[in-house]
């Protein structure tokens, strides 16, 4: 037993030499080393994953917050962009027209669904009077029927009390546009011999002393020539959707403007 170390000195060989017994031992050693290395690395990996998970969770929460904030900002920017486009078109319209216009914003709609009115944020203090025309870039919206000091009530052309003198842009057939309540109106007192077709644009005639001549009012949605009726039954769909209107113009002085060419050509292009 004492001589065994000495014997081992004698048996010491080159470190590159490999004896028959070396292979299984080295295999065993490397296998166990692999095993421990695997274990150690998996523990390390799991620990790192856990730590990462905590970080990821935290980062995720931050990113979610940031994402929400960015989405909100994006929506705000889109809204501002739309508003900007709308206001720019309004400004262009105001500067290019000879009419005296007052820009206003819609602040509320009629409480009762059987009535079609809305309220704007300009009133007598801004020079508005009863009977003044209220328009948008698309055409006629209605007219002021109850001006207050700083606000005004606008009667929409779809209201059952609203009446506008109109004519068919294509055939120049005359008629009276009357609101029906809801979102529609009719063109009444059109002679049966007149040429009116579905899709025709109805414009203001200018005879009612409210709207200047040539402003688009509505499109014909249906024409009925009933045998027992004395005039054509013409159903109209307004060119302006009052539910989507946010900014309007009140015409304080039309200066006898004839807008036939200006509006009809653009409206016909849109229709095509």
């Amino acid at each position: 037993m004492i001589s065994l170390p000495l014997v081992s000195f004698n048996t010491q060989r080159s470190p590159f030499a490999e004896g028959w017994y070396d292979k299984p031992f080295s295999m065993l050693a490397s296998a166990s080393a692999h095993l421990f290395y695997g274990f150690a690395s998996s523990v390390q990996e799991t620990t790192r994953l856990y730590l990462d998970l905590i970080n990821i969770k935290h980062k995720n929460a931050l990113l979610k917050m940031e994402n929400t904030e960015l989405k909100t900002r994006l929506l705000q920017l889109q809204e501002t962009l739309q508003e900007n486009t709308r206001l720019r078109s309004l400004l262009e319209f105001k500067t290019s027209t000879r009419m005296d216009l007052v820009a206003a914003q819609v602040i509320s709609h009629d409480l009762l669904s059987d009535h079609n009115t809305l309220q704007i944020n300009k009133g007598e203090a801004h020079g508005l009077k009863e009977g003044m025309a209220v328009i948008t870039l698309d055409g006629v919206l209605g007219y002021i029927f109850r001006p207050q000091q700083n606000t005004s009530y606008v009667m929409l052309i779809t209201d059952r009390y609203a009446v506008v003198d109109g004519l068919v842009a294509r055939s120049r057939a005359r008629g009276i546009i009357e609101g029906r309540g809801g979102s529609a109106c009719t063109l009444n007192y059109v002679e049966k011999s007149e040429d009116v077709q579905a899709g025709d644009l109805i414009v203001s005639s200018g005879l009612d002393n409210i709207f200047p001549k040539g402003l688009p009012v509505a499109r014909v949605s249906r024409v009925e020539n009933l045998a027992y009726a004395v005039s054509l039954k013409v159903d109209l769909e307004p060119v302006v959707d009052p539910d989507k209107v946010e900014e309007v113009f009140v015409i304080t002085n039309a200066q006898n403007n004839d807008l036939t060419d200006r509006f009809i050509s653009s409206a016909e292009n849109e229709a095509e």
Binding site: I107, L111, S113, D114, R146, D243
Partner: protein, 178 residues
């Protein structure tokens, strides 16, 4: 009928509630939900007054509330007052026979009251102008639905106002005068 300061003050609070709700539904509701039918909170307030006040008190109070509503609409006050007058007698008749205080009774009656008001307004307009209003059944149904759905909330708000500012409740059945 005694018309003391407390009664007037209480009515004033209810009037403010009605006006604020009318402003909300004519402005904020529209911007949030577009042309979605609006609930008739003012009708619920009128019904509450008819149920919880003596008729000689609730009738003028209802008139005042309906008058204020004309500032939120182009409606002529006559088209609101006439159906309200007719319905107030119907409600009084029902109340004198069947009445139990509570949100459920209020909700049941609000269905009949809102429906009755819509029908009477429609007929009033037809008989006075000779024109028929568009029926719009879906829109009217949703108006009725939202009104009835909100009736428990309105009932609880008005009951709270009554409890806060009044010494006694006016829910006596069939009582005409104090």
């Amino acid at each position: 009928m005694k018309l003391n300061k407390k009664t007037v003050f209480l009515f004033f609070i209810i009037l403010i509630f009605t006006v604020l709700s009318a402003a909300f539904f004519s402005s904020v509701w529209h911007y949030m939900l577009g042309s979605t039918p609006k609930p008739h909170i003012w009708l619920l307030v009128c019904l509450y007054l008819l149920l919880h006040r003596p008729l000689p008190q609730s009738l003028p109070q209802g008139y005042v509330i309906l008058f204020f509503l004309t500032y939120f609409s182009s409606v002529s006050v006559a088209y609101l007052w006439l159906p309200f007058l007719l319905l107030s007698f119907v409600v009084y008749f029902i109340k004198s026979r069947v009445f139990w205080p509570g949100a459920r009774y209020f909700a049941i009656l609000s269905i009949a009251f809102t429906f009755g008001f819509e029908v009477l307004s429609y007929l009033t307009f037809y008989f006075t102008s000779g024109k028929l209003l568009p029926l719009r059944p879906i829109e009217r149904f949703f108006e009725l639905f939202f009104t009835v759905a909100l009736s428990p909330f309105v009932y609880s708000v008005l009951t709270q106002i009554d409890r806060m500012f009044a010494e006694e409740s006016f829910s006596e059945v069939g009582r005409i005068e104090d």
